[in-house]
Symmetry: C2
Subunit: 153 residues, 2 copies
């Protein structure tokens, strides 16, 4: 059920934006994946719609974790994503059937807020710490949230 | 990526609990699916763990909607699921790539709360109204939420 087009849009970042230290394809891929997890950023995302017409932006991700590192990664995620502007919901869950997988569900007030979160210092710290614990993505689904309970800024 | 074991556990309800009016397999299936969506109930769910040791309970569902009925179903869902005891998050989202699909992400303080929600009058009303608009499930994933932002009772 994995949509390859969605996954590939996450993994195909602009390498020239990554700065120093991303010398191997594997390292670069981990960075891109972890950036997307931690900041919820689509590297190929379009610019936001005009002010006042923005819709909420959602992500549902299944992250494959390096074996034995799940608890550590979850802790880093929960610390790193607090207080992100425009983040209405960010829930980290263990997969009950796979000890090396987590699910992350996110709701943002706009795609622009979600994209901007990548540059937050707390997110940058989380990327640095958590990136090596991420093996890859199994699912990456973009949604357009409409409403519900538990959406708080 | 669909886990058949998870899906079948949703669809295999106890038909003798359904009362009157569920005469055809299709109708029964729609009821079971819509019950699961609206109340987040697994018909085959086990009883809750001992008090004080319960963990949060999460669901990620992709619902296939009868063509043209998505907005109507979303409205019913958003009205029907307000104020459910133990519900920490319940977000309804459109699928940007499929006009006949929605995603529902849920977090409950326990599986027991989630199971109990099925009997709420508001949820019963939503089942009655929204059930015929639901064509089926494409995804049904159980998670064990650990924490995050936007979990509110």
């Amino acid at each position: 059920m994995l949509q390859d087009s969605r996954r590939s849009s996450v993994l195909s970042g602009k390498s020239d934006e990554l700065g120093e230290g991303w010398r191997s394809p594997i390292t670069r891929r981990v960075f891109l994946v972890s950036s997307a997890v931690l900041a919820g950023t689509m590297m190929t995302s379009a610019s936001a719609s005009p002010q006042g017409t923005e819709t909420m932006y959602g992500l549902i991700s299944k992250v494959d974790v390096v074996s034995g590192q799940r608890d550590a990664l979850v802790s880093i995620l929960l610390e790193g994503v607090a207080g992100m502007p425009g983040c209405l919901s960010y829930v980290v869950a263990n997969d009950p059937e796979n000890p090396d997988a987590i699910w992350i569900t996110e709701v943002w007030d706009s795609q622009a807020s979600h994209d901007a979160s990548l540059s937050l210092p707390s997110v940058q710290d989380a990327i640095a710490q958590g990136g090596p614990m991420i093996a890859g993505f199994s699912e990456r689904i973009v949604t357009a949230p409409v409403g519900g309970h538990g959406l708080t800024s």
